[in-house]
Symmetry: C2
Subunit: 232 residues, 2 copies
């Protein structure tokens, strides 16, 4: 089966968490909206009856259509060995993913604290206040939590890589892109997370993906944006 | 087995989504932090090794500790018939729950657009802008989506109540508390959602719960807050 991933074609965004899982699994997939005519196909699929998604990303897996990033990963985790099969381990992996999702949403809101429908330029004073709190309080709280969960081990859950590790890699990549000054001490303050980041990047399939044109660059259109005034 | 729910003792908050599922299931549970000495027990549990939660709510289910509201509901759904057992229906229910969780987070940020660590009074201008967008754009987008999913049926998923229905009830209750003027036309604009709200409230166990002292009132300490200036 070839999966169909539906996501905005020009940004990493939330779709990237799904792409990383598909790539690590070696699962064949089409990134639909990046194909000719794909955007039209995606907008049509959003209007479908049945199980419509509120927003991209969503994944077509044979007869299933699955929306919400963490839910897609729940599915891929079970079908591709990217999470424990046992209930306890599966729930724990998903709990970590949902906590990462909270961090992602907060990272987005540093540049869009008022409304996603407005430009960043229309909410700069609010963004400045929100980003300052995010850097001072929220990044340390989240990264401190994941460092504690790692507890010196290689992976977040048991002895094997899960989709939560891929997602932690991605959110750290994004934070380092958006807030390079705030994250300059990552390796000293969070050595376990820094090592996990290297470890994920060195996975053969992930390394090949990151070096390929399939990996879109970070940019000021996505979730993680580098605005120097928000990272003073 | 008696569940132990860990959540802040004086607000509905995110814990309420778990309480509603436990009540509908008729599952025995202790609301730990509302018992004598319970807050201390909760703060200690947050520091535990093993599978620590990033924040309340979390649920102890025998040997399992499960955090993140949607993840707790995923578990309860499977163990108490509050979601389909088959993969497709289980994922669809969870997808809807995660979309409700996004709406809940956005409702919270209307009064805390800058930082959860600051008082509302310290972010009123930002709150005013964010709430205006929430009321004008986000509430209609979310409620329009759920109305479309209902499609004239009684419940969101198949022919039976799921935890997603309980959660949609709760978020609509909260929105009507926080934004009574904006939601005044609920029954006209979203008749399916309004009917679902009545249908959930009339479930015998839910009706008994809502009339009991176990149901905390809405207040200006929780997620859904009524500030008249945000609902002009």
């Amino acid at each position: 089966m070839t999966y169909e991933l539906f996501y905005w074609p020009s940004i990493q965004g939330r779709g990237e968490f799904v792409r990383l899982a598909l790539e690590e699994a070696g699962a064949p997939y089409v990134d639909v909206a990046r194909e000719p005519g794909g955007m039209k196909k995606m907008m049509k699929a959003l209007e479908d009856g049945g199980h419509p998604a509120f927003a991209p990303p969503f994944l077509k897996a044979g007869p299933l259509t699955i929306g919400q990033t963490a839910n897609i990963l729940l599915y891929l985790g079970q079908h591709h060995g990217l999470a424990p099969q046992v209930e306890e381990g599966g729930l724990w992996t998903h709990q970590l993913q949902l906590t990462i999702a909270d961090l992602v949403a907060e990272a987005h809101d540093t540049h869009h604290p008022v409304a996603g429908s407005l430009y960043y330029e229309d909410q700069k004073p609010e963004a400045s206040r929100r980003a300052a709190d995010f850097v001072a309080n929220r990044i340390p709280k989240f990264l401190g939590y994941f460092e504690r969960v790692l507890g010196g081990r290689a992976w977040l859950v048991g002895g094997q890589l899960t989709y939560a590790d891929l997602s932690l890699f991605q959110v750290v990549e994004g934070l380092c892109y958006a807030f390079p000054r705030a994250l300059a001490g990552l390796g000293d303050e969070y050595p376990g997370i820094a090592a996990l980041r290297e470890r994920v990047a060195a996975r053969p399939r992930i390394a090949a993906y990151l070096a390929s044109p399939r990996r879109l660059p970070f940019s000021e259109e996505g979730i993680f944006r580098h605005y120097p005034e928000l990272d003073p």
